[in-house]
Symmetry: C2
Subunit: 123 residues, 2 copies
DNA sequence: CTCCGACTTGACGTTGACGTCAACACAAGT
DNA sequence: ACTTGTGTTGACGTCAACGTCAAGTCGGAG
């Protein structure tokens, strides 16, 4: 199939697919006239990339998963490198959540304090 | 004082201060020779800006706080517009935290599933 | 033949908060 | 006088993940 069909079926755009190719993430064969040619395996890769980035993974983080599929594994997270990305991302998320909690509490305290000052006595 | 001193005492850089000026966030008087001249009140504004952006507020969000101080209030959050920013940010944070929780749980589930597959039977 | 849709490459735009560099002027210290 | 430090403006670079536009090519339908 050509790039337009892959984009449609993969739930993305032709621009994104060309971008992935420019990163070496999704290389494409070329037809005689220069047009990109993809197959069902490529569609699988696109789905893998999109589902991961949809969750919040960076494009670079999807590389091990794509490579894993390309190596013949049935899932992208069957390889150690992919699992490692999972772990790293999990730690990042926990860290981020912790920090956001702290910030939220800080903002909430500031807000309450400001409201306190605006009506000093009861009411 | 001049821009270098303000940057040092405000915990930032001269580039940042010029940038703030370009946004109209921190206008500066000029000396006869064209150099920017600041006073202690400006330092106060810089501290306000930095402490807010340090928490995660966008520069534009600090504008009401800075204006509030410039209007003579003792704190930057004494004005309604500032409090409104607090509220908005608080809602944003809650929303962000909720989404991150969902993502984290999703990633954790994926990770556990992947580990399950790597050692199918006990152990 | 003409028209349309899909394809190609290349270049620039977007968002935020500056960093970095160039090329120059002015101030202070020795 | 010379050097060093600090100041000025202006322009371009950074990061991510593409969007948008331009100008042209290719294939098939009518």
């Amino acid at each position: 199939m050509r790039i337009g069909e892959l984009a449609r079926r993969g739930g993305t755009t032709t621009r994104a697919l060309r971008y992935y190719e420019s990163l070496g993430l999704l290389p494409a064969r070329r037809a005689a006239n220069g047009q990109r040619e993809y197959d069902e395996d490529d569609l699988r890769l696109v789905h893998e990339i999109r589902s991961l980035t949809g969750i919040g993974f960076a494009l670079e983080d999807t590389r091990p998963f794509v490579q894993c599929l390309r190596d013949g594994h049935t899932t992208g997270d069957a390889c150690a490198a992919s699992v490692e990305v999972y772990r790293r991302k999990l730690a990042e998320l926990d860290d981020c959540i912790t920090r956001l909690h702290a910030v939220r509490d800080q903002v909430r305290a500031q807000l309450e304090e400001a409201e306190q000052r605006s009506r000093p006595c009861g009411r």
